[in-house]
C-alpha cells in the first residue's frame, strides 16, 4: 500500500508546481488508474513514489516506509516500470538482472536462475545475448518489468505501460495486472488514454496541471459509462426539473439539459415533455465513455 500525502514538486524555484499537494492512497488488491493529459504530472508523481525524484514537500509512504528517509526499505517493496525505460546501454539482460538482484541481497546463482525464468515469462529470453541498447521500446518495457519481478514487490508502478506494446503485449500486461490484483498487490497505472482503464482499474485518480481533480470510485466508474441524454428545449423553466427528476440527474448547460445517472426507462420522456408544452428541438442519447467524462471533468481547468 502506498500513501501519498500533500506531495508537491517544483522543478524550478518559484516556478510552476509539476505536482501540487497531491493526496492519494494506492490500496493493496486494487488497480488504481492515474489519468491526465500530457504534462499533467503523472510521471513526476510516479518518479517521486519510485524514489528517483526528490519531492519538494509532502511524503510518500510505501508499506510504512518513507521513500525519502527510509528509501532502502521502501524501495524493496516497489517495482517501477518507467514510461521510457533506460538501461546501461552496453549491458545484457541476464548480467544486469544479476546486478539488480544484488541490491536485494540475492546471490549470483539464485539471481541467474531467476533471471532466466523471468525473461522467459516476459518473452525476451531470446534476446539475452543482445545489448540492451539494441532493444526496441517494447522490449525495454518487458525487460523493465522483468527487473521488477526479481523479488515480486508488494507495489507496482506502471507509467504508461501499455503505450508502445504490441497487441499481444497489451493482452499480457492486462492479464498480468489482473494476476497481481488477485495476489493482493497494489498496482498504480498511469495513462493519458482513459479508455485503457475501462474494465481494468478499480478506481481512477484524475490529475490535471499537477493537481488531483477527482477520484472516480468503482461504482461511479460504472455509472459514468451509462448513457447521457441531451435535450434541447427553447422554453426552459423551473418546472421542467420536477418532470425530469425521476429519470436521473438533470443539469442545464448552455441552453441544453443534460441528463445523467439515468434511473428509469426514458423512452416516453420526449412525448411527456411535448405534452407539457415544451418546445423540444433536439433529443439525443449518448453512451458516455470515461474519456468524455474525463474531458468534462478537466475541461474547465484546461481552457487556457
Amino acid at each position: 500500500m502506498i500513501k501519498i500525502k500533500n506531495l508537491t514538486k517544483y522543478f524550478k524555484k518559484n516556478g510552476k508546481a509539476a505536482v501540487s499537494s497531491l493526496d492519494l492512497t494506492i490500496n493493496d488488491g486494487e488497480i488504481t488508474g492515474f489519468a491526465g493529459l500530457n504534462g499533467a504530472g503523472k510521471t513526476t508523481t510516479i518518479r517521486m513514489i519510485a524514489g528517483v525524484t526528490l519531492p519538494s514537500s509532502g511524503t510518500v509512504t510505501v508499506d510504512g516506509a518513507d521513500i525519502v528517509h527510509d528509501k532502502v526499505k521502501a524501495s524493496k517493496s516497489i517495482g517501477w516500470v518507467p514510461e521510457l525505460p533506460n538501461f546501461e546501454p552496453q549491458a545484457k539482460s541476464i548480467s544486469l538482472m544479476i546486478y539488480y538482484a544484488g541490491f536485494y541481497g540475492i546471490d549470483y546463482k539464485t539471481a541467474k536462475n531467476r533471471a532466466i525464468e523471468i525473461l522467459k515469462e516476459v518473452n525476451i529470453y531470446d534476446a539475452r545475448k543482445m545489448k540492451l541498447i539494441n532493444y526496441s521500446q517494447g522490449m525495454k518495457k518487458r525487460f523493465s518489468l522483468a527487473s521488477c519481478m526479481i523479488i515480486e514487490p508488494q507495489n507496482f508502478l506502471f507509467d504508461e505501460i501499455l503505450n508502445g506494446l504490441d497487441p499481444e503485449g497489451i493482452q499480457f500486461m492486462r492479464n498480468y495486472m489482473k494476476e497481481l490484483k488477485k495476489k493482493n498487490k497494489a498496482v498504480f497505472l498511469s495513462t493519458h488514454i482513459l479508455s485503457e482503464l475501462q474494465n481494468l482499474a478499480d478506481k481512477v485518480a484524475i490529475i490535471n496541471n499537477g493537481k488531483l481533480v477527482t477520484i472516480i470510485k468503482p461504482d461511479e466508474l460504472e455509472n459514468v459509462t451509462k448513457s447521457t441524454i441531451t435535450i434541447k428545449i427553447k422554453n426552459i423553466d423551473d418546472k421542467i426539473m420536477n418532470i425530469l427528476q425521476p429519470y436521473g440527474k438533470a443539469k442545464v448547460e448552455g441552453g441544453e439539459i443534460v441528463l445523467t445517472d439515468i434511473q428509469k426507462d426514458f423512452s416516453d420522456l420526449n412525448t411527456l415533455l411535448v405534452k407539457n408544452n415544451y418546445i423540444v428541438t433536439g433529443f439525443s442519447v449518448e453512451g458516455e465513455s470515461l474519456e468524455d467524462y474525463f474531458f468534462k471533468l478537466i475541461g474547465g481547468d484546461n481552457k487556457k
Binding site: R47, G51, V72, P82, Y100
Partner: protein, 492 residues
C-alpha cells in the same frame, strides 16, 4: 553478487580503461626505450672511438715521432696503423699494446712542415695535420695533452686521459691537478677547449690529485655533485705552483662540460617521464570513467533504473565512486608495474617500494579528485552533451594547460622566470590543480623544484614537504567526493 563487484568489473572492462591502459603500456615502452637512448648517447660506445695524440723529439739527425692511440675510455688501442707522408716518402708504423707507434723521420734543417698523419683502425681512416718544427725546441713535446673521456669503471662519469712526452722522450715529473666549477650548463653555455688562466692559482682552485712519472695517465674526475651540469676548469700546476701548458703551447685552463649520468639520475628521468605519462593519462582515465559510468548514466536517466532499487542516493554515489576509484587504482598499479618492468628491461633497475607506493597513492588521489569533480558536474549539468563538453574543458584546463596558465598568470603579474615571486605563484597555482600532485611529490623526492618549469630553489624553502603535499593530496581526494555526496543527497 555484491553490486559493487559488478560496478568495479564494469569499470575495469570498459573501453576507456582498457584503451588507456594499453596506451600507458605503449608509451612506457617508448619511454623506457627513449631513456635507454638518453643513457647511451651520454655514454657513446667509447671503445669504438680512437683518438690520436702525438709528440716528437730529435735524436741526432732524426725526429722520433711518437703517436699515442687511445679510445673513448682513455684505454690504449693497439694495431692502429699510422702513416705519414713526409719529404716525398711515406713512413708507416703500427701501435703496440701500450698504444704507441714510433716513426723515425729525417730532420730537414731549417724546414717547418705540416704533414698529414693518417691513422686507420677497424677499416676507418682518420687524417690529421701535425706541425713539425725545424728545431728541437718545438711545441709538441713537454705539453700535457688532455682529453675528457668516459670513466670505464663508471660509464656515467668521466676521466681525464693524459699524454705527455718530454724532451728527449722523458716522462713527466710531478703534476698537481686542480679544478674549478664554472657556469651552469645551459643552451648557449657549454664547455670545450682551453681558456686563459686569468688569475687562476692553487689557492682559488680545488685540489684534485697529483700524478708523477708518466707518459700516459688516466685520472677519474671524481667531482662533487655541485659540479654536475656545469662547466669545469682543470689546471695542471708544477711543483713551483705555476700553471703548465695543456693542449696548447701557452699555460692554460682546460674547459669541459661536466654532466654525469648516475643511476639516481636515470631513475629521476624515469620518474619524470612517468610523471608526464601519468599526468596525462590518469586524469583522462578518471574523467572518462566518471563520465561514462556515472555522469552519462545520470544525465541520460540510466541511473534512475538503479536508483529505484533498494539503495540510497548517497549509497549509489559512493558505490559508483569507489568502484571507479578501485578500478582506476588497479589500472594505475598495473600501469606502474608495467613501467617498472620496462624500466628494468631497458635501464636495469626496479623502482623502490617507497617510490611505487608514492606513485600509486599520489595518482590515485589525483584520480579521486578528477572523479569527484566529474561526479559533482554530473549532478549540476542535466544534458549529456553539456556534461561531456564540461568534462573535456576540465581536462584541458587542469590537466593539459595548467602549466601554460601558471606561465600566463606569472606573466600578467610581471614575475620573472626563476624569481622567488614566480616560484611562489607557480607553487600556489600548482596546488590548485590536482594534476600537479605528483610534480610536487617528485620535487620533494628530488629536493629540487626543477620539475616545475621556471621555478628555482628547493621545495622546503616554500613549505613543500612530504607532509604538506600529502595534505594537499588528501584534500583533493576527499573534498570533491564529500561535496558531490552532499549534492547527490539534496539534489535530483
Amino acid at each position: 553478487m555484491k553490486p559493487i563487484i559488478y560496478e568495479i568489473k564494469r569499470t575495469l572492462t570498459s573501453k576507456t580503461v582498457i584503451i588507456i591502459l594499453l596506451l600507458i603500456v605503449l608509451f612506457s615502452l617508448v619511454l623506457g626505450y627513449a631513456l635507454k637512448g638518453t643513457l647511451s648517447s651520454a655514454n657513446p660506445n667509447a671503445a669504438n672511438v680512437v683518438n690520436l695524440d702525438y709528440a716528437y723529439s730529435i735524436k741526432g739527425s732524426n725526429y722520433n715521432l711518437v703517436t699515442y692511440s687511445s679510445n673513448g675510455y682513455g684505454e690504449p688501442v693497439h694495431d692502429v696503423s699510422v702513416s705519414i707522408s713526409y719529404n716525398n716518402s711515406t713512413y708507416t708504423a703500427t701501435s703496440n699494446k701500450a698504444g704507441y707507434a714510433n716513426l723515425t723521420l729525417p730532420v730537414i734543417t731549417g724546414k717547418y712542415s705540416i704533414p698529414t698523419i693518417n691513422y686507420s683502425y677497424d677499416g676507418n681512416t682518420i687524417s690529421r695535420n701535425i706541425a713539425i718544427y725545424a728545431n728541437s725546441i718545438d711545441t709538441m713535446q713537454g705539453i700535457y695533452q688532455v682529453t675528457e673521456v668516459i670513466n670505464p669503471a663508471n660509464t656515467g662519469a668521466y676521466s681525464l686521459n693524459i699524454f705527455y712526452y718530454g724532451h728527449n722522450g722523458t716522462q713527466s715529473g710531478k703534476v698537481d691537478v686542480y679544478y674549478k666549477i664554472g657556469k651552469k650548463l645551459q643552451p648557449g653555455v657549454s664547455g670545450g677547449g682551453t681558456a686563459s688562466t686569468g688569475n687562476a692559482s692553487e689557492s682559488n682552485m680545488v685540489y684534485l690529485t697529483s700524478i708523477n712519472k708518466f707518459y700516459t695517465a688516466n685520472i677519474p674526475l671524481n667531482l662533487p655533485s655541485s659540479a654536475d651540469g656545469h662547466v669545469i676548469y682543470i689546471a695542471f700546476f708544477n711543483t713551483n705552483a705555476s700553471i703548465l701548458p695543456v693542449n696548447s703551447n701557452m699555460p692554460a685552463l682546460l674547459e669541459f662540460s661536466y654532466t654525469t649520468i648516475s643511476a639516481g639520475k636515470i631513475k629521476y628521468f624515469a620518474y619524470e617521464g612517468l610523471n608526464g605519462l601519468f599526468d596525462f593519462f590518469i586524469p583522462l582515465m578518471a574523467i572518462m570513467v566518471g563520465y561514462f559510468t556515472y555522469g552519462k548514466d545520470k544525465a541520460s536517466g540510466t541511473l534512475d533504473s538503479v536508483l529505484s532499487k533498494p539503495i540510497t542516493r548517497e549509497g549509489l554515489f559512493t558505490s559508483r565512486f569507489f568502484s571507479n576509484i578501485i578500478a582506476i587504482f588497479i589500472a594505475i598499479t598495473i600501469g606502474t608495474a608495467v613501467i617498472d618492468l620496462f624500466a628494468n628491461y631497458y635501464l636495469g633497475f626496479y623502482m623502490s617500494l617507497t617510490s611505487a607506493v608514492l606513485i600509486i597513492a599520489t595518482f590515485t588521489a589525483m584520480a579521486a579528485a578528477y572523479l569527484g569533480i566529474i561526479y559533482i558536474l554530473s549532478h549540476l549539468i542535466k544534458s549529456v552533451s553539456a556534461l561531456l563538453g564540461s568534462s573535456i574543458v576540465i581536462f584541458l584546463v587542469f590537466a593539459l594547460f595548467w602549466g601554460v596558465i601558471i606561465d600566463l598568470v606569472n606573466l600578467a603579474m610581471g614575475n620573472g622566470t626563476g624569481s622567488i615571486a614566480y616560484t611562489q605563484t607557480a607553487i600556489y597555482l600548482s596546488s590548485i590543480s590536482p594534476s600537479s600532485l605528483y610534480t610536487l611529490m617528485l620535487a620533494v623526492k628530488a629536493g629540487t623544484l626543477s620539475s616545475i618549469s621556471g621555478a628555482t630553489g628547493t621545495p622546503s624553502q616554500y613549505g613543500i614537504t612530504y607532509l604538506s603535499v600529502s595534505i594537499i593530496a588528501i584534500i583533493w581526494a576527499v573534498v570533491p567526493y564529500i561535496t558531490g555526496l552532499f549534492i547527490s543527497k539534496k539534489m535530483d
